[in-house]
């Protein structure tokens, strides 16, 4: 193997920390004790990078790369991606970033508070003027391509607020652990998407009666760098594809879709695993069978058709594709960890959603589910959008409490209080969200 020459800040510190201090921050520490800052410029430069004064600077050993600087690297990366610095980076190649529950408080999720799930590498150069979408596959009369401008001109525009939740949201709680990005609660969002209806476009193209499924193809690159390898190509049955709310979207929250979220065109299929909503959309195949692209088969976005014991091996033919996401809710205010005085009423707020269905009841508990109190639940802005809920609770005594939130969908199914059915890849954890509260 060839020796790789690498230059980065960690390497610089690894090779000669004292020299790295001098090079980067003009810092010279005491040559005998190797502590402190001989010249104040070094201290102020380092402090400027860290965004605050360095306390006990005289004791700071020379050549110690401040841990905060690594944190700073994360913050810079989040800013570069247009993300709020409070988000959590689970993975940086490919990018997978989750939103803490308290940052999901907005009625319409802003771009900077939107979780990010990439399977491959994002496209680097996109020209909306030359971007085309091709509709082809076994079940079209003949393949047709549209430019972005043609899609916008030929078809009526529609806007919907749509919940997109990662199928693996909540994966971190499964036991035995499920492989993949360890999402906790924040891989969900409800933005306002504007585009044209897929059904309008398919009507214009002409779909044959043998159509079964759609399968998308996007402009991202496989992690291996192989340009011919498809990163992910998923889809939905025709009935879901032809719903009013299934959009070919070119705008999000009234602006161009950010690059990380699928600029200049993406599929948006509300209520189903967000992986069905292909980004950087270039092609949709109308299939005469269930789509079989990468991440439609095996353990990907599939769960055991019948319940299994945790950790059980499940044969391929025993796995079924996830369709609608289950009923779920999140407490977005207050942030977990609130301390309040006895006698004070705590105002709670959050969202609830139920895949293809709606939420008909919302309840909260402060006694680990022994009793439940009804919350006020608003109707959705449109079908497949999340619903706002609010509740006021009083605590009878001082001490440690957990507030649990539970939604019930229009078919009567509620969120479980424990982690639901185990599955190999850890999908569909819709257990009640919990926050900690201390009353004194």
């Amino acid at each position: 193997m060839k020796e790789k020459k690498t230059v980065n800040i960690h390497r610089l510190y690894a090779e000669d920390p004292i020299e790295a201090d001098r090079l980067l921050f003009g810092r010279e520490s005491d040559p005998v004790s190797r502590r402190g800052f001989l010249r104040r410029t070094g201290l102020s430069a380092m402090a400027a990078v860290l965004g605050g004064p360095i306390v006990f600077a005289e004791h700071m050993p020379g050549g110690l790369l401040p841990a905060l600087l690594l944190q700073d690297g994360n913050e810079e990366a989040l800013k570069k991606l247009g993300k709020h610095t409070g988000l959590t980076i689970l993975n940086d190649k490919p990018w997978n970033i989750e939103t803490p529950a308290h940052l999901l408080d907005d009625e319409v999720t802003p771009a900077d508070r939107m979780f990010l799930r990439n399977n491959g590498l994002m496209p680097t150069s996109i020209d909306p003027a030359t971007w085309t979408l091709t509709i082809d596959g076994e079940a079209v009369t003949k393949p047709v391509s549209f430019t972005l401008a043609e899609l916008k001109q030929k078809f009526t525009h529609h806007s919907y607020r749509l919940v997109l939740e990662c199928g693996g949201n909540g994966r971190a709680e499964f036991d035995p652990p499920a492989k993949g990005n360890q999402w906790t609660v924040g891989a969900v969002q409800c933005a306002e998407w504007t585009g044209v209806r897929l059904k309008d476009v398919l009507n214009a193209v002409g779909v044959k009666s043998n159509a079964v499924y759609i399968g998308y193809y996007g402009g991202d690159t496989h992690l291996s760098g192989d340009p011919d390898k498809v990163v992910i190509s998923r889809g939905v049955p025709m009935a879901k594809a032809l719903e009013d709310e299934t959009l070919l979207a070119f705008a999000m929250n009234g602006k161009d879709i950010p690059l990380a979220h699928g600029h200049p065109l993406r599929l948006v299929v509300g209520g189903w695993p967000a992986s069905a909503s292909g980004k950087w959309l270039k092609r949709i195949a109308i299939r005469d069978r269930v789509h079989d692209g990468p991440k439609m088969t095996g353990d990907s976005y599939r769960v055991p058709c019948k319940p299994v014991e945790p950790g059980e091996k499940v044969p391929d033919e025993g796995m079924c594709i996830i369709e609608s996401m289950p009923v779920k809710s999140v407490i977005t205010s207050p942030k977990s960890g609130a301390i309040l005085d006895k006698g004070r009423t705590l105002e709670l707020r959050g969202h609830a959603w139920a895949g293809d269905l709606s939420v008909k009841r919302m309840e909260v508990s402060i006694d680990f589910g022994a009793s439940w109190q009804a919350a006020d639940l608003k109707p959705a802005h449109n079908r497949l959008a999340w619903q706002r809920w609010t509740a006021n609770v009083k605590f009878p005594e001082t001490g440690y409490y957990e507030v649990w939130a539970r939604a019930t969908d229009s078919s009567g199914r509620s969120q479980p209080m424990v982690v639901p059915g185990w599955n190999p890849k850890g999908y569909l954890n819709n257990a009640t969200h919990r926050i900690a509260v201390r009353v004194r």
């Binding site: 193997m1 060839k2 020796e3 790789k4 020459k5 690498t6 230059v7 980065n8 800040i9 960690h10 390497r11 610089l12 510190y13 690894a14 980067l24 921050f25 003009g26 410029t41 102020s44 430069a45 400027a48 990078v49 790369l65 690594l70 700073d72 690297g73 810079e76 570069k80 689970l90 993975n91 940086d92 190649k93 709680e173 036991d175 035995p176 652990p177 492989k179 993949g180 990005n181 360890q182 496989h222 992690l223 291996s224 760098g225 192989d226 390898k229 990468p294 207050p334 942030k335 977990s336 960890g337 609130a338 301390i339 209080m417 424990v418 982690v419 257990a431 926050i435 900690a436 201390r438």
Partner: protein
Amino acid sequence: MSDDKPIISPEQRAAYDRVNTMLNRLTLVAVGIVVVVVTLMFFPQGLDLGTADQVAATEVPEVDPLEEGIVDGIHVETGFVVDEGWELVRANCTACHSSKLVTQNRADRAGWESMIRWMQETQKLWDLGENEPIILDYLAKHYAPQRKGRRARLTHIEWYELEP
């Protein structure tokens, strides 16, 4: 307002020059920091100045831990626990994906083996050869499953005073 230009003494001029020089140096330092941070962002695994060989990393040069940025037994850049086999894991796994994908997952030896097989079958991971048992031993030892039960207690609570 007076048209008089302020009179500067030679001492003041010298002091001004000193401040100016210092500011220039600070600017250089600031530019340097920006370059380093941007480099870090774009090349989290380091700026590759050599040819990128898509060859299985079967041999890893011996490294001196002191020169590799290791703090409290953790390799700072990747987050890997430093123990036998960690360089092999770094060389073979982070060629395609972030080390974070390894360090956030937990599995027993069979579980890690199945992930490797899946990557070999679908994601173009190469044959790990005689290094595979070393890699599996390392992963099974340091990234083993922890029992969580049906629902774990809430942890990492950051307590704060709720605003009135």
